[in-house]
């Protein structure tokens, strides 16, 4: 039901769905498989969708591929947690390590627009020092990027998505005003704000990628609260409704329900195109350049499973680092019951934030930082926290669930250190395409645990000072995935360079969350999009110089 988009591709025959209109279509350019296009891009999320748009606007011929469906939210998104699982990457993955990850709904999307279709819209910039955390802060790895340059690209993305944010942001170097005014705080966010004030630290309205006033065909956010199940009003500025329509308009072709299975190379050691599965058969698209943008699990999976006699350890893998240094940010929470009615199901889930512990280096017994935000889990997500962490069932569970409307909570996005033992590798088991599935190994290190302990302690106090009762902490949750194809200055210790170009194969690129050498304590998508904008500018400059 409502899943036609999952069964037959829509981006074909010279047209594509217009996600902003009921039953709408937009004309789309089409390339032949024998046309050697300038760029074949695998994945159309925060990284791939943005890059496809920027490269097409720069005049390159671009074909984007996504394994997922091309939805029209207005007519195909229900207000329902269960039904909307159709947005997630639910193909099997095997998880092990000391802290096996919970993937699926928690981490990754499969759709035109990628995970931004169901993300929570929190749009934060990196702290400048994090780009040089090894040199300046003594941990992790340096990025080959300069923060001042990134600051300009952040501004570009904030404008492109019309981010709604505060007039003054309390942390970091000055930034321009957010394009749209901040959203009204809900009670759950006011609990955070009151707590911060009582603890003597600053807080802010969260900069969010959902509009607070009309924008074209996007109405302002109606505070329905189903954001992580997909936005049925199109207030959310996902890649699906921003970068992708722009890309199509600029002449890119996007192919939905198109699963890339292998990247082909020639004797000279260059890539020549992508093998992909669509409409019941394997096909091949020729391309001068291939960009992998499948997110931190699928990107290394594709690079590793494209191994051949010339590149027996997988493509772009002379450093041995493809798949390694996976970083799943910690996502622990403190929860409590308020006397007041909170009704946290209203509004985007994280309307208030504090980055205090990202920008303060004293009073910490660990490296790195964390932000924490107010929360608003819907019933299924909430019961999964209660049962999963406290082991409740039977009457005890029903009694706890009954306090739903009085519940408040604070949740971190915590930095984790890059560790080579945290990795994505290929399992023996195959998926429905006959491709080896990913084995994801994950263990927190002592530093990660110390950070979590500090955060849980601080957030519990901050709930307690505003009168929360029955406070408990959730110690086992992770969120965004990054790493696994890190960028750097040295081919021996990184997979791609600052331009997201692989060291080993000059016409193979990676442009998504995989390129992060470190993760910082903020949600990654704004940074992924800023890097994609920068990469497009660099490609344009290199093409102009003839060095592409």
């Amino acid at each position: 039901m409502l899943d036609e988009a999952l069964h037959s591709p829509r981006g074909k025959d010279g047209r594509a769905p217009d996600p902003l209109r009921v039953g709408g279509w937009m004309p789309m350019r089409q390339y032949g498989e024998n046309d050697e296009v300038d760029f074949a891009i695998v994945g159309t999320g925060a990284g791939g969708g943005t890059l496809a748009c920027k490269l097409a606007e720069a005049g390159f011929s671009v074909v984007g591929f996504d394994a997922g469906a091309w939805w029209r939210p207005l007519e195909e998104f229900a207000s329902d947690e269960t039904h909307q699982e159709k947005l997630f990457w639910t193909d099997e993955r095997i998880c092990d390590g000391d802290n096996p990850l919970k993937l699926g709904s928690n981490n990754s999307g499969k759709a035109i627009g990628g995970s931004t279709v169901h993300f929570a819209m929190v749009s934060l910039r990196f702290r400048p020092e994090w780009l040089k955390s090894r040199s300046l802060l003594g941990y992790g790895a340096d990025w080959p990027l300069d923060w001042r340059e990134m600051w300009r690209y952040y501004t570009e993305v904030e404008q492109a998505l019309k981010i709604a944010g505060p007039v003054n942001y309390p942390w970091g170097p000055p930034r321009p005003r957010y394009p749209y005014r901040a959203h009204e705080l809900n009670a759950a966010a006011l609990v955070l704000a009151k707590g911060c004030e009582a603890m003597g630290i600053p807080w802010s309205e969260t900069p969010l990628a959902t509009v607070s006033a009309p924008r074209g065909r996007s109405p302002p956010c109606v505070y329905r609260g189903f954001c992580v199940s997909g936005c049925s009003t199109n207030a959310k500025q996902s890649a699906l409704i921003t970068w992708i329509p722009r890309a199509v308009k600029a002449g890119a072709e996007i192919r939905d329900l198109a699963m890339a299975g292998r990247i082909e190379t020639n004797d000279a050691g260059y890539v020549t195109g992508v093998h992909y599965y669509r409409e019941g058969q394997w096909r091949f698209q020729r391309a001068r350049n291939v960009v992998v943008a499948g997110y931190a699990i699928e990107t290394p999976r594709l690079l590793l499973s494209s191994a051949n006699s010339q590149f027996p350890d997988g493509l772009a893998n002379s450093s041995g680092l493809v798949g390694k240094n996976l970083m799943a940010q910690t996502n622990q929470a403190a929860w409590g019951v308020m006397e007041d009615e909170i009704r946290w199901y209203k509004g985007p889930p994280s309307l208030a934030v504090t980055e205090h512990w990202n920008y303060t280096d004293t009073g910490k017994d660990f490296f790195g930082g964390y932000a924490y935000m107010s929360q608003g889990p819907l019933p299924r997500a909430w019961v999964s926290s209660l049962a999963g962490n406290r082991g409740l069932w039977g009457d005890a569970l029903l009694r706890a669930m009954e306090k739903y409307n009085h519940q408040a909570g604070l949740k971190i996005v915590g930095e984790v250190l890059p560790q080579e033992r945290n990795r994505v590798a290929l399992a023996d088991e195959k998926d429905r395409y006959g491709l080896p599935i990913a084995r994801v190994t994950y263990s927190l290190c002592d530093n990660d645990k110390a950070l979590v302990k500090h955060a849980l302690n601080f957030m519990s106090q901050s709930l307690s000072v505003v009168g929360a009762r029955d406070i408990w902490t959730e110690s086992d949750d992770t969120c965004h995935l990054n790493g696994t194809a890190r960028m750097g200055d040295d081919p021996r210790t990184s997979v791609v360079n600052a331009d997201c170009r692989s060291w080993d194969i000059p016409n193979l690129w990676v442009c998504d969350g995989s390129v992060f050498p470190t993760v910082g304590g903020v949600n990654p998508s704004l940074t992924i999009q800023a890097i994609a904008c920068r990469t497009a500018d660099r490609i344009r400059a290199m093409a102009a110089q003839g060095s592409l």
Partner: protein, 213 residues
């Protein structure tokens, strides 16, 4: 336990701007599934139904949520989560193996199948499973506690909290597109949200909840 939101019914909003057409179709289909197995055998079904009654003891004064049938449909359609721990078999096999193993444990300790033993004894066995104290050849290497948390409780609770009766119980607003919400502050309620009964004022809350829509 007195009801916290007496008389509140999310479904009363079905025809209001809080529900759009896709939502009506999805929820209507969920509320009308027949309470019978398609995937599980009769024996598995009896065990599963008994487990559901213990994990979510339902009030007697309303139609029960067909939790077992909702779990069964997830198996029939093989709707997986997108990951599994390395120690676990795939979803369908995990359930089949876990149900058989629990039944075997009931027969071994009480000489009767799980569904036929007293509720307190069922709880003791479920607790033992949750604590990882059940093992034996029927488990075939699958850790009992992982089965309990990652499959049994996970799937049963997800099924229950996908049903509108559970939303009524906790005062959740339910579907909310396109109307959304307006009043965001502490203790503020839109007229299409549940009214909470303060102790001693249940009748007034019931009356107010009958107007929610």
């Amino acid at each position: 336990m007195p009801e916290r939101y007496p008389g509140y019914d999310v479904l009363a909003k079905r025809a209001t701007p809080s529900w759009n057409e896709p939502t009506r179709r999805v929820i209507d289909a969920r509320l009308s599934i027949p309470n019978e197995p398609r995937f599980f055998t009769m024996q598995e079904w009896e065990t599963l139904t008994a487990i559901c009654d213990r994990i979510v003891p339902q009030p007697k004064d309303r139609a029960p949520v067909p939790i077992a049938a909702l779990v069964d449909r997830k198996m029939t359609n093989d709707e997986r989560d997108g990951y599994r721990q390395a120690s676990m078999p795939k979803m369908q096999q995990a359930w089949q193996r876990g149900l058989a193993a629990l039944d075997a444990a009931a027969r071994a300790s009480h000489g009767a199948p799980f569904h036929a033993i007293a509720a307190v004894k069922q709880d003791v066995l479920l607790k033992a499973m949750q604590n990882g104290e059940l093992s034996g050849p029927e488990w075939n290497g699958m850790p009992a506690h992982t089965f309990f948390s990652e499959r049994l409780a996970h799937d049963i609770l997800a099924a229950y909290y996908s049903h509108s009766s559970s939303w009524n119980e906790i005062g959740f607003g339910g579907p909310a597109s396109p109307r959304g919400y307006v009043r965001m502050n502490f203790n503020r309620r839109d007229s299409w949200e549940a009214v909470e009964a303060k102790p001693g004022h249940e009748a007034a809350a019931r009356k107010a909840n009958e107007r929610v829509g």
